[in-house]
Structures are given as structure tokens and as C-alpha cells.
């Protein structure tokens, strides 16, 4: 058995101010790291939960996003009769020709870019996760739109019954949709032909979304689509397409992680400084413990544990600091599509455990050298230092 942890705990309490300052430094570091991770996690969750596992997105070869893809109605005729595509309740293949474009929405906070998506009725069937929570679906042939709930809540003009202006004139908001955590919350849905006419893109549409019958058919379908020379197509699964869109979080993730890293180095030194001071102040005590029979290893372990305990307190504080961020909604420009995407911070238990582990890591790094110094002291030299 080694020195009791209460011994370390009481020593930390005995120098409250130093302990608190050091722990706070660690807490802030953990908070920055966790806030960044929570943001990235929220964005990823939003994007990845958008996809249906059996959906395949047919775009022009080389397109990084639907926005810069190009598909014609002729392509659509070829694609929708491919083998392996599931049929809807009406017997029609589940294939939706869509136009994706960016429109500018004026709000109190200035103008923002929003993704507008023109879809066919089949488009609704391919997105079971999207529910109309207010109003109704748009009617084909009319300048009507359904807005994602995040947009509706952030922009007064985009509420049910409102009108918003883009393209050749006003559009009426006839419905609000809830798409769970998915990216459709940040989009506008409207009739494909209306949007195409509005944007002068009757033959230059964006993509075709299709639903495979099952996983085996999905593989064959993908091969078939990419091999068809008439189409010149890329056909990623919808999941992998949205996963690649999470790149938009990369710069933020980089900056956040970088700042956290710099802070972590500072926190390590702060912990080291605190522990060196503790070792110096308790030199005679270390000598006494050795005389009582505690080994060098026991001393090392005790001071290391004290540093870990200190950083653990910091880690807990850091988690408490970011907890209020959980489910807080925010928007971020999607750097791939240049349009706004709204999502929630996600402070998950796993994330907090990571934060604690990171704090403990800082404590271990900061505590190791002071603990080694404590362990290396000669008994008599230590006893003489008062």
C-alpha cells in the first residue's frame, strides 16, 4: 500500500489559491478543446444523419458537391430505369432529379447564403426522415417553399405564411420541415420546375438521388452508373457524400485544436511549476516519509498522483464550463457549398471522458519531472531542507 490519496487531496486544499489557479488553467484548456470537438461533432452528426444508407447520389464526374454538379433531364431518363432501383408506392422508381442552388436570404443579421433544393414528388419519398411540422408540402407548379426548421426559427421572414424574395420574385412559405439533426433543416425545398425556370437552368440540373433495393443491389447499381459512358457520372453513396462535406469543419477544428494545444503546453508548465513548488516546500516531509519506510517509487507515485488529482479537478471544471454549450444551436458556413448549415453543439459523455483524459495527460506530463525530483532526493539532504 502506498501513501493515501487523502494525503494528496489535503495538500492540494492546503494551498487553495495555487491549486485553483492551476486547475483553472487546465479547465480552460479542456474547455477550448471540448468546445471545438463539440462543434465539429455537431456538424458531423448533422451531415451524416442526413443520409439514408441505401441512397446513391448521381453527380457529374469530378464534382465535389451537388452545387457544382450538372445533370440533364436526359440523364434522368437513363438513370431511373437502371436495375436495382427501388420502387415507390406508386410503382415509380425512387429516383429524384434535383436542382441545388444557393439563394441569398436577408435577415436581421445580414444576408446569408441558403441552399435551395428543387425536387420532384419522388424527392420526398427518398427522405423519410424529413417531416412537415407546420403547414404542408409545396404544390408542383407554384412558387411555394418548405423551409427547414432552423431557418424558420432564425429568420422571421422565413416563417410559415411569410414570403421571401429570390430569383425572379417572391416565394410563399407554405410549410416548415423537421429533419431531425440533418442538414435539410438548413435548406429550402421547392418544386424542381419552378426553381429551374427561375434560375434559367431547365436542362442544367444538379443531381439525381436514387434508392437501391438493398446493399447488394446498391453495389451493382453504383458500378453500373459509373460505368455508363453516356452518363460520365460519379455515384457516391449519400452517406459518403455527406461525410466528405464535413471537411467544412476542418479549418475550425484546426484552429481550435491548435489553440488548445498551445494552452495545453502552458497548462503543463503551470502544473509542473506548482508541483515543483510543492516538492520544494515539502522536502523535509519527503525525507521523513522515506525514514518511515516509503520507497523512492512510493514518493514518485504519490507526487504523480497529486498532479493527476490536480488536473482531474481541472478536467471536471473544464467539462462543467462546456456543458451549457450542449444542444446550443449555431450556424457555420459550409466551405464546400458556400451556404449556411445550422446544427447543435454536441457535448457527449464520450467527449467529456476525452476531456478528462486530456486533463489527466497534462497532469501526468506536468507532474512527472517534479515527482522524479522528489523521489531522487537523498534522505539526509531532504531532511535538512526546511
Amino acid at each position: 500500500m502506498a501513501l493515501p490519496l487523502t494525503y494528496n487531496w489535503r495538500n492540494l486544499l492546503a494551498r487553495k489559491t495555487t491549486t485553483l489557479m492551476t486547475a483553472l488553467g487546465i479547465a480552460l484548456t479542456v474547455a477550448v478543446l471540448l468546445a471545438t470537438a463539440a462543434l465539429v461533432d455537431g456538424l458531423k452528426t448533422s451531415l451524416t444523419s442526413t443520409a439514408h444508407p441505401l441512397n446513391v447520389l448521381v453527380m457529374r464526374k469530378g464534382s465535389t458537391a451537388e452545387l457544382n454538379s450538372n445533370r440533364s433531364p436526359e440523364d434522368y431518363q437513363i438513370i431511373k430505369v437502371k436495375r436495382g432501383i427501388a420502387k415507390g408506392p406508386n410503382g415509380e422508381p425512387l429516383a429524384s432529379l434535383e436542382l441545388v442552388t444557393v439563394v441569398i436570404l436577408e435577415g436581421d443579421l445580414g444576408a446569408i447564403n441558403i441552399t435551395a433544393r428543387g425536387i420532384t414528388p419522388q424527392g420526398w419519398l427518398l427522405r423519410e426522415g424529413v417531416k412537415i411540422v407546420e403547414g404542408r408540402q409545396f404544390q408542383p407548379g407554384r412558387r411555394e417553399i418548405v423551409v427547414g426548421k432552423s431557418i424558420a426559427s432564425r429568420y422571421p421572414a422565413a416563417r410559415l405564411g411569410g414570403t421571401i424574395d429570390f430569383g425572379r420574385g417572391p416565394w410563399q412559405v407554405v410549410g416548415v420541415m423537421d429533419a431531425g439533426r440533418s442538414a435539410a433543416n438548413s435548406e429550402l425545398f421547392c418544386d424542381l420546375n419552378q426553381l429551374a425556370a427561375d434560375q434559367n437552368r431547365a436542362t442544367a440540373l444538379s443531381s439525381v438521388l436514387v434508392r437501391a433495393i438493398d446493399e447488394v443491389a446498391m453495389q451493382a447499381l453504383t458500378n453500373d452508373l459509373t460505368a455508363d459512358t453516356r452518363l460520365n457520372a460519379d455515384a457516391p453513396s449519400e452517406s459518403s457524400y455527406y461525410a466528405s462535406q464535413t471537411q467544412s469543419a476542418a479549418p475550425l477544428q484546426f484552429i481550435g485544436t491548435f489553440v488548445a494545444l498551445i494552452m495545453a503546453i502552458g497548462s503543463c508548465f503551470a502544473a509542473m511549476n506548482t508541483m515543483y513548488a510543492a516538492v520544494a516546500r515539502r522536502a523535509a516531509e519527503i525525507g521523513t516519509l522515506r525514514v518511515l519506510g516509503f520507497s523512492k517509487g512510493g514518493i514518485l507515485l504519490s507526487f504523480l498522483l497529486e498532479s493527476l488529482l490536480l488536473s482531474f479537478v481541472g478536467g471536471i471544471l473544464g467539462c462543467l464550463l462546456v456543458l451549457p454549450l450542449n444542444n446550443l444551436q449555431t450556424g457555420i458556413g459550409n466551405f464546400v457549398t458556400f451556404s449556411e448549415i445550422t446544427f447543435d453543439f454536441r457535448v457527449t459523455p464520450e467527449l467529456m471522458l476525452t476531456g478528462l483524459a486530456f486533463a489527466l495527460f497534462m497532469g501526468a506530463v506536468g507532474g512527472l519531472f517534479p515527482a522524479a525530483t522528489a523521489a531522487r532526493k537523498e534522505i539526509l539532504t531532504a531532511l535538512k531542507q526546511t
Binding site: 500500500m1 492546503a14 521523513t288 519506510g293 517509487g297
Partner: protein, 233 residues
């Protein structure tokens, strides 16, 4: 097993400080038997503490032989020494050296943390040791809440809680007032007489030395022959 607890032959300790060399202890031969209470006396710097530290294996000799409780201390590793000291030697310091953040009974319990004893047994042993030194009613007091005399009695309780064969004390009364000093010496005397503990105590105080059964003098690093005192002592 022989009755010899401590035996040294030509025991020598030199400290090298840069160019100069200090011989703190030179060719000391001493034999101490079980149940003896030996006082070490002599002028300041004569090597009393040095000898005591070598007996406690808190430092290593630079020459000669030393056997304590049957162990050749020169042959033990640092880890062995730590375990050996925990099990067999109790040490009492001049300045008590209690752990300030721990209560009296936690201080006394500390050496037992290194044994196989369970929590209840540790508490029981610590309590008994504190009762023995007359502090059974001060279990939860921290060192700061105790007088110097009480602190030293807690330290003595800590030194005896593992039931060691040998108790070493370096000027245990040096920081105490006359009454507290007498209490501490009475306690050491009782431990020697009633519990048969072998005790080696360094002291400056001739009065304190009277508690001992034998007095040995040191002068300039040399252990004087039995019965001999330093000049002008």
C-alpha cells in the same frame, strides 16, 4: 540468535565537499545489545548524528562494517532498506516531523500503510500507540492543534506503532520545555524497560542521558572508549 543488535567495525563516514574532505566518523567500533538504552553525547559536530544515521541506514558508510539486527546494511538495496526500516526501526526526530495535513492518528497509522494490515487493524494499532503515549483523546487533532510536547509524543507513537526492535532518537528533547522533555524521556524509559526496546538516543542534555543505561561519548568523529569523556566535558 545472538543478543547483539548493533555492531560496527572501523565504521567510517567521509563527506567530500569539492576540494575539502570532512571525516564525520572515524573507525567507530560499537556493540549494542538487545534491551540496552544507549545515549550518544559529545560536542557539536562530533559525529553523533552521523553514527545514528548510519545505524538507521539513512546514509551509507564510506568504510568499515555495520550490522544492525542481523543485517549487513552495506549489502541491502535501497528498496530492501526501506522495507527493513519500516519493519524494524522507529526514528524520533528533534523537530517531530509530523505530516501537517494528517491528524494524530493518521500520522501514527502512516507506517502501517506499508504493512499488510487492514484498515481496522491499522486504526486499532494506531489508537493503542496513542493511548500508550497518553494521547488517546487527541486522535483527530492535527499537529498544529497540539503542543510541542504532544507532537513529540505522537511522533514517538508513530515510531513504535510497527512494534520495531530498535528505536533511534536524535535529540528528541532538543525542542521541548523541561516538563515535556521529562515526559518524553519517561516514555522512552518505559519503552525500554517494559517493552524491551533497544534505544539509541543522541542528546546534549546530561539530564536526559540519565534515563539511559549507558552513555557513549564522541569527539571529533571518534567514538571514545567506554567510560571516557571528551576533555573539558
Amino acid at each position: 540468535m545472538s543478543n547483539v543488535v548493533i555492531e560496527t567495525r572501523q565504521l567510517t563516514k567521509e563527506f567530500v565537499r569539492g576540494e575539502s574532505k570532512v571525516v564525520a566518523l572515524k573507525d567507530a567500533n560499537i556493540t549494542i545489545e538487545k534491551g540496552e538504552f544507549v545515549a550518544l553525547m559529545g560536542p557539536s559536530g562530533s559525529g553523533k548524528s552521523t553514527l545514528l544515521h548510519l545505524i538507521a541506514a539513512m546514509d551509507r558508510a564510506t568504510g568499515g562494517e555495520i550490522r544492525v539486527l542481523g543485517e549487513d546494511l552495506r549489502k541491502l538495496s535501497d528498496g530492501d532498506i526501506a522495507r527493513w526500516r519500516n519493519a524494524h526501526v522507529g526514528f524520533v526526530f528533534q523537530s517531530f516531523n509530523l505530516i501537517p495535513v494528517l491528524s494524530a492518528w493518521e500520522n501514527v497509522e502512516l507506517p502501517l500503510k506499508l504493512t499488510k494490515l487492514g484498515k481496522a487493524a491499522r486504526l486499532d494499532h494506531a489508537k493503542k500507540a496513542l493511548e500508550l503515549v497518553g494521547l488517546g483523546d487527541r486522535l483527530d487533532h492535527t499537529p498544529r492543534q497540539l503542543s510541542g510536547g504532544q507532537e513529540q509524543r505522537v511522533a514517538i507513537a508513530r515510531a513504535i506503532v510497527t512494534d520495531p526492535d530498535l528505536i533511534l532518537a536524535d535529540e528528541p528533547t532538543g525542542n521541548l520545555d523541561a516538563n515535556s522533555a521529562r515526559d518524553a524521556l519517561d516514555l522512552l524509559g518505559r519503552l525500554n524497560r517494559e517493552f524491551g526496546k533497544t534505544i539509541v538516543m543522541v542528546t546534549h542534555d546530561p539530564h536526559a542521558a540519565k534515563s539511559a543505561s549507558k552513555v557513549r561519548y564522541l569527539e571529533k568523529g571518534e567514538l571514545l572508549p567506554i567510560g571516557q569523556k571528551p576533555e573539558d566535558w
